[in-house]
């Protein structure tokens, strides 16, 4: 692989659907800077596996984002930090996190544990069915159901504090 082919194909993909993919990544990661990092990690994975990918790389990239969000991504991040190869993504001084403050939903999602957040984003943004989300997350449908239910409950609680306060003795 000479390396230029995946770059050209992926740049075209990002030109067409980059914003949509980045939005999904931000929602999955629960922060703007982490979302960018997640998307970049996904792209790295696609490049790494380029020779084995058949068909459209977009589907592969999406699945990778889902998997990384629920599974390996934070571990990868730790591994990367240990190698000291790359700047920590949070150190990017572009005011990205200040923008997060304007995006209430990103802030709310950030407060959920990864599995609940992924389940919510896959069900309500990516519009996967419970079985599809279970496959994407590598867990049972029951786990997806409970993660969605717990995640939704938590989001509702956080976004409607007055309502919750009224119920809490």
């Amino acid at each position: 692989m000479d390396g230029e082919q995946p770059i050209a194909v992926l740049e075209q993909l990002l030109a067409d659907k980059g914003e949509q993919l980045l939005r999904t990544a931000i929602l999955l990661a629960g922060s703007r800077s982490d979302g960018e990092d997640l998307l970049q990690n996904g792209l790295e994975r696609v490049i790494q596996r380029w020779r084995t990918i058949r068909g459209e790389p977009e589907g592969y990239l999406r699945r990778t984002l889902y998997h990384l969000a629920v599974d390996g991504w934070r571990r990868k991040k730790a591994w990367r930090a240990r190698l000291g190869l790359l700047a920590a993504p949070d150190a990017v001084p572009d005011g990205a996190d200040a923008v997060d403050q304007r995006d209430r939903i990103v802030r709310l999602l950030h407060s959920l544990p990864p599995r609940q957040r992924t389940a919510i984003v896959l069900r309500y943004w990516e519009e996967l069915s419970e079985a599809e989300a279970a496959n994407a997350m590598g867990c049972s449908v029951g786990t997806v159901k409970s993660a969605v239910s717990r995640g939704l409950g938590r989001l509702r609680e956080l976004s409607e504090p007055a309502h919750t306060a009224g119920r809490t003795a």
Binding site: G3, I7, D16, E19, Q20, L22, R23, E36, L39, Q40, N41, L43, E44, T52, I53, R54, G55, E56, P57, E58, G59, Y60, R62, R63, T64, H67, D71, G72, R75, R80, L85, L86, I105, S111, L112, P113, R115, Q116, W125, E127, S129, A131, A134, N135, G138, C139, S140, G142, S149, R150, L152, G153, R154, R156, E157, L158, P161, T164, R167, T168
Partner: protein, 377 residues
């Protein structure tokens, strides 16, 4: 369900501003090369590699769904985990989009005796379960219900999850990947039978006579019952799954457990797949319907594992178009332990990990002080 809230959620997700860096792909390319170089340098020994389990048994391929055509050699379908230097274990390659079919997944399932029926297996298991005491003495017999389960994707262990929840659904979770996090549940019952939700108290109130329980359970199933056993998403397949999910994940009193096993034996279309040995070395009988395969030890009634086959490819539509996506490979849950626990046995939740106690602004909605998830004895 509060669809208005869910719609608002979707709308807010769509409004998130994005600003795409133009050099993202090139950066990813360079990082990937750097990483590859670093990986070669890192002298971590590959731990073990793959214990290639070539069981001296017939390996059968469970069809991922009816109509699935066999897939040409697809690296993503191999249930093999390769350990590489400097990495814990590689995530199996993900499937590409626009597939022609979903891959089958090979489980090593040995043939069972030819004359064994589903009714035999579940009746024997039900008898074993019925002779056991309910978990703990009295019911509920502890503050928290604790389960430990392995979650595997293909042959790769994704996470070993420990979950502690109380009767109101609040508690603590912890996984191999997830550090301890608070589970808060504002009053939603979490035990499902066929899509119908039950609280622990409602479970306890269900009839334990299978003849009375069967019509209730059948009515709980939201998907249509079909007499076609090949349909993967049929009511009976979903009901089968939900019963075992309930039995393995919630505190079910022994008489109800026994009745649920007997009721499950009435579900049409379930077949005996054979003998299966799980990742912990425990052997049981595998029962199969649709996309589900459940492994039970008939002698003790214990549910050992549940495998989910890959689903058919799906079409996913976003803001700018639709794509065909392959559902990823099969997953397996291995049920390690389940039982009552005290708050003292739970891990501490770090501040800021989604806990109600961490936010301090709103309670978890439960009046039970024992359920504050961050307390450790």
């Amino acid at each position: 369900m509060n669809t208005e809230f869910e719609d608002r959620l979707r709308a807010e997700m769509g409004r998130v501003e994005v600003r795409l860096r133009p050099d993202l792909v090139r950066e990813a390319y360079h990082h990937q090369r750097q990483r590859r170089t670093a990986r070669r340098r890192a002298a971590f020994a590959a731990t073990g590699g793959v214990a290639a389990v070539a069981a001296a048994a017939t390996a059968i391929v469970l069809p991922s769904h009816p109509g699935a055509r066999p897939l040409a050699a697809d690296p993503s379908a191999k249930p093999v985990v390769r350990a590489r230097p400097g990495r814990t274990a590689s995530v199996p390659a993900l499937p590409t989009s626009v597939p022609t079919s979903a891959p089958g997944v090979t489980y090593s399932i040995r043939p069972a005796a030819a004359n064994v029926t589903v009714l035999d297996v579940l009746t024997k298991a039900a008898t074993a379960v019925g002779s056991q005491a309910s978990p703990g003495t009295g019911w509920p017999a502890g503050a928290y219900w604790h389960t430990e389960q392995e979650v595997m994707s293909g042959a790769k262990l994704v996470s070993t999850d420990n979950i502690w929840t109380d009767a109101s659904g609040n508690g603590v979770g912890e996984g191999t990947v997830d550090p301890p996090y608070a589970i808060t549940n504002p009053g939603q019952p979490l035990a499902d039978i066929g899509g119908k939700s039950y609280t622990w108290a409602q479970l306890d109130a269900l009839p334990t006579d299978p003849a009375k329980l069967w019509p209730i359970v059948k009515a709980d199933e939201q998907l249509p019952f079909s007499e076609d056993p090949a349909l993967p998403k049929s009511g009976q397949s979903d009901l089968f799954q939900s019963i075992w999910n309930l039995v393995t994940s919630e505190p079910v009193p022994a008489p109800l457990r026994k009745a649920l096993y007997e009721v499950a034996a009435k579900i049409p279309g379930v077949t005996v797949a054979g003998q299966y040995t799980d990742s912990l070395g425990r052997t049981g009988t595998a029962l199969h319907i649709g996309m589900w395969t459940m492994v039970v030890d008939p002698d003790t009634g214990q549910i050992l594992a549940m495998m989910q086959a890959a689903g058919p490819p799906v079409t996913v539509c976003g803001a700018t178009g639709c794509i065909q996506q392959q559902t990823a490979g099969a997953s397996t849950n291995v049920y390690i332990t389940a039982g009552w626990a005290s708050a003292a046995s739970m891990p501490k939740v770090p501040v800021g990990n989604g806990g109600a106690a961490a936010s301090g602004s709103s309670g978890s909605g439960t009046p039970n002080p024992a359920s504050v998830p961050t307390q450790r004895g």
